[in-house]
């Protein structure tokens, strides 16, 4: 059984549309700072950005059947791009430029890697190995090029401001404005990716996941589509990384490491890889629960997450989101 090939059995046809659930989730997230102004307002944007990175993987893994262990690599590239741009004195808002540079860096890096690998017919486990190497390379470059990146000491980054042309400026130094800026970015990313998944392009990706050879014989240049989706996924993870850098004010080499990449795969596998919303929620909840549990029980939490991961891969290939409709139906029957 190959991890890289996803063939979810039985398509769930939920009575409630995913967009409706997403809207409720986003409204709740939007109300949270009104009710609570403590630590949660500071920390939740970080988890939302992990959720955004998880969505970038779900697009690739759940929709197209391509597994990547390189998402943290892209996340780190985005973070460092933001940091490098923010260092410079620029006539335009460096925060905006940082995000733009991060997106372009992701698009280019993933596009180039994807082009060479997919047009050479590299697939499944071999592609996974290359993305794994990407994570290692990014981490190593971050360590070795210390004149740019600060090496193991990492890089400190100022929080940017939002400027609206001549209309004014909002500093993101306080947690509440930062929270809303990140929330808006996450909603925009969800909406854009959801649109992509439902478009002609997205349906062709599903066809490639289900039967690559058949899509080719139907006239589709599958290598081109796979390159394009990998580039979009890389750019999304990079933008999440750039926002993370702006939020936390600090990036370090371990952000691009294999360990972090693996964690992303675990979140998405447990939450459900074939739904963007599930991946987003997985990124938010599984990562925050892991962080909480690692403080409570440092010895056993990794074991627990590992067992959950194995269970998800072996028995619930759709993750929690895939198992949920069936469980609901069963409980209704009782």
């Amino acid at each position: 059984m190959s991890l890289a090939v996803d063939r979810p059995s039985g398509r769930a046809v939920p009575a409630i549309r995913e967009e409706t659930v997403a809207a409720v989730v986003f409204v709740l997230l939007g109300l949270l700072p009104v009710i609570n102004s403590g630590y949660v307002v500071y920390i939740l944007p970080q988890y939302m950005l992990f959720g955004m990175m998880a969505m970038s993987l779900a697009l690739l893994w759940g929709n197209t059947g391509i597994l990547s262990f390189g998402q943290a690599g892209f996340f780190a590239i985005g973070g460092y791009a933001m940091g490098l741009v923010m260092k410079e004195a620029l006539p335009i808002n460096p925060g905006y430029l940082g995000i733009l540079c991060a997106a372009l860096a992701g698009l280019l890096t993933a596009g180039l890697i994807g082009y060479f690998l997919f047009s050479a017919g590299v697939r499944d486990s071999y592609f996974v190995l290359v993305t794994l190497a990407l994570s290692i390379i990014v981490e190593q470059i971050a360590v070795s090029q210390s004149q740019w990146t600060g090496g193991w000491n990492g890089m400190f980054i100022m929080r940017p401001s939002l400027t609206f042309g001549g209309l004014g400026e909002v500093s993101l130094t306080d947690d509440a404005p930062m929270y809303y800026a990140v929330l808006v970015a996450v909603v925009a990313a969800y909406a854009a990716l959801r649109f992509l998944v439902r478009s002609r392009f997205g349906k062709i990706l599903v066809g490639i996941r289900e039967n690559d050879a058949r899509m080719t014989a139907l006239g589709i240049e599958t290598a081109w589509y796979k390159t394009a989706v990998f580039a979009v996924s890389g750019a999304t993870a990079c933008v999440a990384g750039a926002l993370y850098a702006a939020h936390s004010g600090f990036v370090s080499p371990s952000l691009g490491g294999v360990l972090f990449s693996t964690e992303v795969v675990v979140w998405v596998a447990i939450a459900g890889r074939s739904s963007l919303l599930a991946a987003l929620l997985g990124g938010i909840f599984v990562s925050s629960i892991s962080n909480y549990l690692s403080a409570v029980s440092p010895q056993y939490w990794q074991l627990a997450v590992g067992l959950l991961f194995i269970a998800a891969i072996a028995y619930f290939r759709g993750g929690i989101a895939g198992a949920l409709p069936g469980l609901l139906k069963r409980s209704r029957r009782k």
Partner: protein, 239 residues
């Protein structure tokens, strides 16, 4: 005058083993041709070279005046050359109508006209009743028709059908014959069909090319081929 599909000296060797040797073959638009021959005659290799799944060792393939010998599979498919595989290649986890939708999507067009096209194709391949069934739950015969539906959906003009009646009941085989005749006569498609079922070939009343040991052994109407003692010797007599 050049033919619609013109094949000259087509040769394929797999590490010295000859699969096809200097095959010449012409097809006019709107024609059905059956390709028969005993096991190992090189029938599937021949189809694979037309669809682009195998690169010939020598020879060339002209389609509508273009030399397509080096074109990759997807480009030939977009030119209208569509292949049905020996083992049906469909999207098993998707429903019948989603399968057809994917093939219709490969041609750009308006959403509304796509919907109509999906319904049309489902009618032609007689799968409208099972449109919401996952492809993996179909009978073997229905799966073969679904694959033919995929070829129609993508806008194929030359159908390469590798054993379209394999694993079918007598009734299904008969229905498939009607389907193929409908495609060629009423929809003006062309087809090259590899078949083993002699009754199916007789019912098609189509010209037959006999391959033997990778070469063209005989060519003619079904009655001529059936009466040919040499062909009987290599194939029909042993069949």
């Amino acid at each position: 005058m050049t033919a619609w599909l013109e094949i000259r000296g087509l040769t394929k060797r797999f590490q010295g083993v000859v699969a096809n040797e200097a095959v010449d073959f012409d097809l006019v638009e709107g024609e059905i041709r059956c390709v028969i021959g005993p096991n190992g005659a090189g029938k599937t290799t021949f189809i694979s070279m037309i669809s682009g799944h195998h690169r010939p060792t020598a020879g060339r393939i002209l389609f509508e005046g273009h030399d397509i010998t080096t074109w990759p599979v997807a480009r030939r498919a977009r030119a209208g050359i569509a292949r049905k595989f020996q083992t049906p290649s469909v999207f098993p986890n998707l429903t019948v109508s989603e399968n057809i939708e994917l093939s219709v999507l490969t041609c750009r067009g308006k959403v509304a006209s796509r919907r109509n096209r999906i319904d049309e194709v489902l009618q032609i391949v007689r799968l409208a009743d099972v449109r919401d069934t996952p492809a993996l739950a179909l009978s073997h015969g229905q799966r073969q028709w679904l694959e033919v539906g995929l070829l129609l959906g993508m806008g194929a003009r030359l159908l390469l059908l590798d054993e379209p009646t394999a694993g079918m009941t007598a009734a299904e085989t008969h229905a498939t014959g009607e389907l193929v005749r409908h495609l060629v006569r009423d929809l003006n498609l062309s087809a090259i069909i590899i078949e083993h079922d002699i009754n199916f070939i007789r019912d098609l009343k189509a010209p037959v090319t006999v391959l033997h040991l990778g070469r063209t052994f005989a060519e003619g109407d079904f009655s001529e081929i059936a009466a040919d003692e040499r062909v009987r010797g290599i194939y029909l007599g042993n069949g």
